[in-house]
Amino acid sequence: MTILAILIPVSLGLGLLGLVAFFWSLRNAQYDDPDGQAERILSDRYDDAPR
């Protein structure tokens, strides 16, 4: 059962990684303007400096 000692932290860590990524996207206003982001990607000007 020692495998549990490895697997449980690994699965928790992966889940936490996802959670942190979600929080990061939430903080970066990724969900505030979904329509705008969809249009902005069509423009070249944000290629080097996305915002």
Partner: protein, 740 residues
């Protein structure tokens, strides 16, 4: 037909046209150093990637602007710029030069950002509870598949370490609401939810410490997760309706033109007006404030304010009320008391009083949850006492009480209403109806009587020439020649009627429009006049009807009669409502004659003419007192109080701002028949909600005895809860799919 429903996309994209040189010059003034402030503008015109870059670049190149960002979803631009006077004006000018008429948002924008943070907050909580739920589920699966002893205890302890902080954060809204409800000595849905979550966690920790077999960590998290989704759906529905309503309001630009002491004209926001300000009102513009005419003469259309269709002539010294429409000539007016005594304020007071009485409406969900929470709490207590007193094993008794609470916890109930509401408001949006208030749909389903306003609601608000058949072709040709060049609604009605008859106008010379009186022209040396009775030299009949007179030289004057035309589907709508067994009445501020004729034409039996705003409210209250639930459909400022005091109310998108904000729903696209469609949809939604309640109830009838008997394991709780939630959501979604 459906243009009004999609006001966003202009016919030609302004960003696709070259920028005129003068637009670049706007606003390039002195360099300024000042603290930054955030300005927000509603920008109904943005719709493409080019629009975004053009607006952002255009604003960023202004002096004093630190940054600009367009939000395409909300159709707004937020500007961070130096807080100096005139900054807002400069930005507005630049925006309109770029081709995007904008509307400054002040308090409204603040409210919107708060609302947005509420959505983010809920999303974060959903994410945390979802993350915790998945991990605890994984651990629980190993317990359910037979882990024992130390392994099981390890799994339970890890679950506890995940579940405790996760619920502590994610379920905070429920705890906060429940505390508020208990402090106010009420019981709402959040009380049993919070009890269930807390009890589940408490019992699970106790059991884990005792190396027990069952822990409900996953159940507590699942409850939180599903209920948060319900909350988020409800929040999204509200937010979408609010931003749609704000977008509509932004289209009606509420600016006034103030004439400074030096004669300079500037655009100002209505709030910035002060008594004594000199204002210019262009023909076709709305009077911005109560006041008196200083110079100029014109006709004004009071229909938004009083429901009357007859234009009134005004000259220097005449009283003007905010909200009236200036028809023919430019006016200069002096704003008077903007305090408590303006008509607008008086109507606003009536609205406040009416809204206060309506806020007492308890929606289905809160009524259901009131009974529900009592029954659930009593059941859990009964289980505890029964097993404790009869069995003597209090540990088991607490376990069973927790199981009863968990299994009865209104997971499905919490989703039953928001899911239906989300589906229904999506359907309504496709029909061109904006829902401003969630309970409005429920209230709409309950109505048994419909009261219509006449002008602008049943009618288009545009007059048509009604006695065209009795006029000779020569007279029509003459009238058309005089009317052609004028923007006056009566003139346009004449031109339209003549066009429909295929008449070409005669050639006149020296055509001159006399604002407030009529139009003058010369036909072969003879003077031709079209206008008001006394100006033309005819005997008017004192204003019972809307008329204009036509006279050539000294020939007898000819009367032109106008009527406000009913909307194309008005008669059909009334017939459909009556066929469905609803009472229909007509309530108008207009004179008896036109109201009676309109009622007769549409087959409405009960009508009231010359109703004042307070009179309308009284009429609705007397209907309500005799047990009727009334839907009010109206658009004018004089309907505002009535809209707010009716059981539920609908306002067309063409209505004044005050009416739109008082109404529960807004009708875009100008089709009155949508009232009936919305009513049908509301009844279907209500049926769906009741079905969902019945399903949640039926699920409880099956599961409560099992829980009561002590056979509910965490596995059964997990299956039952997710199963019932999914069934309820699917049932709600059926509403969204069937599109006629």
């Amino acid at each position: 037909m459906n243009q009004a429903a999609r006001p966003a996309a202009p016919a030609v994209c302004p960003a696709c046209m070259p920028l005129p040189d003068w637009a670049r010059a706007v606003g390039d003034s002195a360099k300024v150093e000042a603290p930054l402030r955030r300005f927000e503008f509603a920008l109904p015109g943005v719709h493409c990637a080019a629009c975004i870059t053009r607006v952002e670049d255009g604003l960023a190149s202004l002096d004093g602007v630190a940054g600009a960002r367009v939000n395409l979803t909300l159709k707004r631009v937020s500007l961070s710029a130096a807080d100096v006077p005139g900054m807002q004006d400069m930005a507005l000018q630049r925006l309109s030069a770029l081709g995007y008429p904008a509307q400054p948002l002040d308090s409204a924008a603040l409210a919107a950002t708060q609302q947005d943070s509420e959505g983010r907050d809920l999303l974060a909580r959903i994410a945390v509870s979802g993350f915790a739920l998945m991990n605890v589920m994984l651990l629980s699966v190993s317990v359910w598949s037979g882990a024992t002893d130390a392994t099981r205890d390890l799994m339970h302890w890890i679950s506890a370490v995940i579940a405790l902080p996760a619920t502590g954060f994610a379920a905070m809204p429920f705890f906060a609401n429940a505390t508020r409800a208990l402090l106010a000595r009420r019981l709402d849905m959040d009380v049993p939810i919070s009890t269930a979550i807390l009890l589940a966690l408490g019992v699970s920790i106790w059991e884990t410490a005792q190396s027990g077999a069952h822990a409900f960590f996953d159940a507590a998290l699942m409850l939180t997760f599903f209920l948060l989704i319900g909350r988020y759906l409800a929040h999204r529905t509200r937010a979408a309706a609010r931003s749609a309503a704000a977008e509509l309001a932004a289209l009606e630009v509420q600016m006034a033109v103030r004439i400074g002491p030096d004669g300079a004209r500037e655009q100002v926001v209505l709030d910035a007006l002060r008594a004594g300000d000199l204002l210019a009102v262009a023909p076709g513009g709305r009077i911005p404030a109560d006041g008196v005419v200083v110079t100029g003469s014109s006709e004004i259309d009071p229909q938004m304010l009083t429901g009357e269709t007859m234009p009134e002539a005004v000259g220097p010294g005449a009283q003007l009320r905010a909200g009236m429409l200036n028809l023919s000539g430019p006016l200069t007016m002096r704003a008077e008391t903007l305090g408590e005594e303006t008509l607008l304020r008086q109507i606003a007071r009536l609205v406040e009083a009416a809204e206060a009485s309506r806020n007492r409406y308890a929606n289905l969900a809160s009524r259901a949850s009131w009974y529900y929470s009592h029954i659930v709490n009593i059941l859990a207590l009964a289980a505890l006492l029964m097993w404790g007193l009869l069995g003597g094993d209090w540990r088991m008794a607490i376990n069973i009480a927790a199981a009863v609470l968990i299994i009865t916890c209104p997971c499905a109930l919490g989703l039953a209403v928001p899911a239906v509401l989300t589906a229904a408001s999506g359907r309504l949006f496709k029909l061109g109806v904006l829902l401003k208030d969630g309970t409005a749909l429920e209230r709409l389903a309950e109505i048994d009587h419909v009261v219509f306003d006449k002008t602008g609601t049943l009618t288009t608000g545009r007059p048509v020439l009604s006695n065209a058949q009795t006029l000779s072709d020569e007279h029509m040709a003459l009238a058309m020649a005089l009317a052609e060049g004028s923007a006056h609604p009566l003139s346009q009605a004449i031109a339209l009627a003549a066009q429909q008859r295929g008449i070409a106008p005669v050639r006149l010379s020296d055509i001159a429009e006399h604002p407030g009186f009529g139009t003058l022209g010369l036909l072969g040396g003879q003077e031709a006049r079209l206008g008001r009775a006394e100006w033309v030299g005819a005997d008017g009949d004192g204003g019972a009807r809307t008329t204009a007179w036509l006279r050539l030289g000294q020939n007898p004057a000819i009367e032109l009669v106008f009527e406000d035309d009913a909307r194309a589907d008005a008669a059909d709508t009334v017939a459909r409502l009556r066929a469905a067994g609803l009472g229909v009445s007509l309530l108008s501020g207009d004179a008896e004659g036109p109201v009676a004729r309109m009622a007769d034409r549409l087959g409405i039996k009960t009508w009231v003419a010359r109703a004042t705003p307070a009179g309308k409210v009284e009429y609705l209250q007397s209907l309500a007192a005799s047990g009727h639930k009334v839907l009010m459909v109206g658009d004018g400022l004089n309907d505002t109080a009535a809209l707010a005091s009716a059981h539920v109310s609908i306002s067309p998108a063409s209505a004044v701002d005050a009416s739109r904000s008082a109404a529960d729903m807004i009708l875009t696209g100008g089709r009155l028949g949508r009232v009936v469609d919305s009513w049908n949809l509301a009844r279907r939604a209500r049926r769906r909600v009741l079905e969902n309640f019945a399903m949640a109830f039926g699920y409880n009838i099956i599961t409560v005895p099992i829980a009561f008997a002590g056979y509910v394991t965490p596995l059964i709780a997990a299956i039952a809860m997710s199963g019932s939630s999914i069934v309820v959501s699917l049932n709600a979604m059926r509403l969204g799919r069937r599109v006629k």
